[in-house]
């Protein structure tokens, strides 16, 4: 009897068939070419591992995670199947909540050992175990220490305060704008936020802004609008961080 149940969501038939063939030799599986259909199955089943393409046509990875989380009963890992051209976006997908990735094209010799190693990891506490966009540090301590060395603490605190205001302005812009219709204007604001957050060592915010800007510049309006939800989450996380007076002292 096959010991574990793995759910595969992959719209590219060749990749899906290969994974079905490899996994089928060791474990039970269910396979879907659409994320929305997989979600309806997940409402009634609880697999041990989910493998999902990050380039599905019918649903964004972020929405899939949100809807999975809303189902409330899944503690298994969700692994992103990532193409070689998306490798540089791994920090962004990590910020979304994906902790593990398998690179495509699938390499049969590496694939099953990787699956086995993921199955023996301890279970997560929620859908991918996260409430926040990611668990990494909000502020890069090396950059913050560099700024303190090259400037004064008073100036640095003021600059962070100014940046928080800039973030608030962007949030307000997002609230009153339709991201799809005003992509260009918002992309410009996100570009500025990207440069400033990166310079201040706010790595998570920088990654979120970098990815949103990239989608905006590519004219991917729907994905861009979706990515802004996570940019907002990263901004709010930073604002919370700054509210705690001790935060910067503890870096």
């Amino acid at each position: 009897m096959k010991s574990k149940n793995i759910l595969i969501v992959e719209n590219k038939e060749q990749d899906r068939k290969l994974m079905e063939h490899l996994i089928g030799q060791v474990h039970a599986f269910q396979s879907f070419d659409q994320g929305t259909v997989a979600l309806s199955q997940l409402a009634i089943q609880n697999p041990d591992l989910i493998l999902i393409s990050l380039q599905l046509l019918d649903i964004e990875p972020i929405l899939f995670l949100q809807k999975l989380k809303a189902l409330g009963n899944h503690s298994c890992r969700v692994v992103g199947l990532i193409s070689s051209t998306e490798q540089q976006q791994i920090p962004y997908f990590r910020a979304l909540g994906f902790e593990e990735f398998i690179s495509k094209p699938i390499r049969p010799k590496e694939f099953i050992p990787k699956i086995q190693s993921l199955l023996v990891l301890p279970e997560k506490t929620g859908a991918n175990g996260r409430e926040n966009p990611s668990s990494g540090p909000i502020l890069n301590p090396e950059i913050y220490q560099q700024l303190l060395r090259l400037s004064s603490k008073e100036v640095i605190l003021q600059v962070f305060s100014d940046f928080a205001e800039e973030c608030e302005n962007l949030l307000q812009l997002l609230e009153r704008s339709n991201a799809i219709e005003t992509t260009e204007e918002i992309t410009r604001a996100v570009h500025t936020l990207k440069g400033n957050s990166g310079t201040l060592g706010l790595d998570k915010l920088f990654e979120a802004a970098r990815f949103s800007e990239s989608l905006g510049k590519q004219g991917k309006s729907i994905e861009f609008a979706e990515s802004l939800h996570y940019l907002k989450a990263a901004i709010k996380e930073f604002q919370e961080f700054l509210k705690n007076e001790q935060s910067l002292n503890n870096v």
Binding site: I143, Q146, L147, L150, S151, S152, V155, I156, Q158, V159, D162, F163, E166, H191, T192, K194, G195, N196, S197, G198, T199, L200, F206
Partner: protein, 125 residues
Amino acid sequence: MSDKIKILVGEDSSIIINLTKSVLAFENYSMKAARNGKQVLEMLEAEDFDLILMDITMPQMDGIECTKAIRKLADATKNNIPIIAITGNAANHTPEDFRKFGFNEFIQKPLNYDLVLATVKKILS
């Protein structure tokens, strides 16, 4: 009269302006800021500077247009001023492109201020 080296920064983000000003002051440089390329040109024509840090993405006149205009100024002391490009979209241009635009050097955003200072010192030496 001050012997401080004078740096003009073309940058539309007040956050980067304030931070850069503070870092440069720690190294005993004097700095003034312009918010767009037109202001850079106006300030350069009105005053002498030793170096310009020029953001590429600015409203009204961007850093590339501004640098091209500076290189065409009649005053030889102004049109030869060293200019360091600051870019958040380095992937859009090659180092050769920046040289063709008239920049002496370029730095990528996010800014690493150790690198900024090292580049400024290298250019000024």
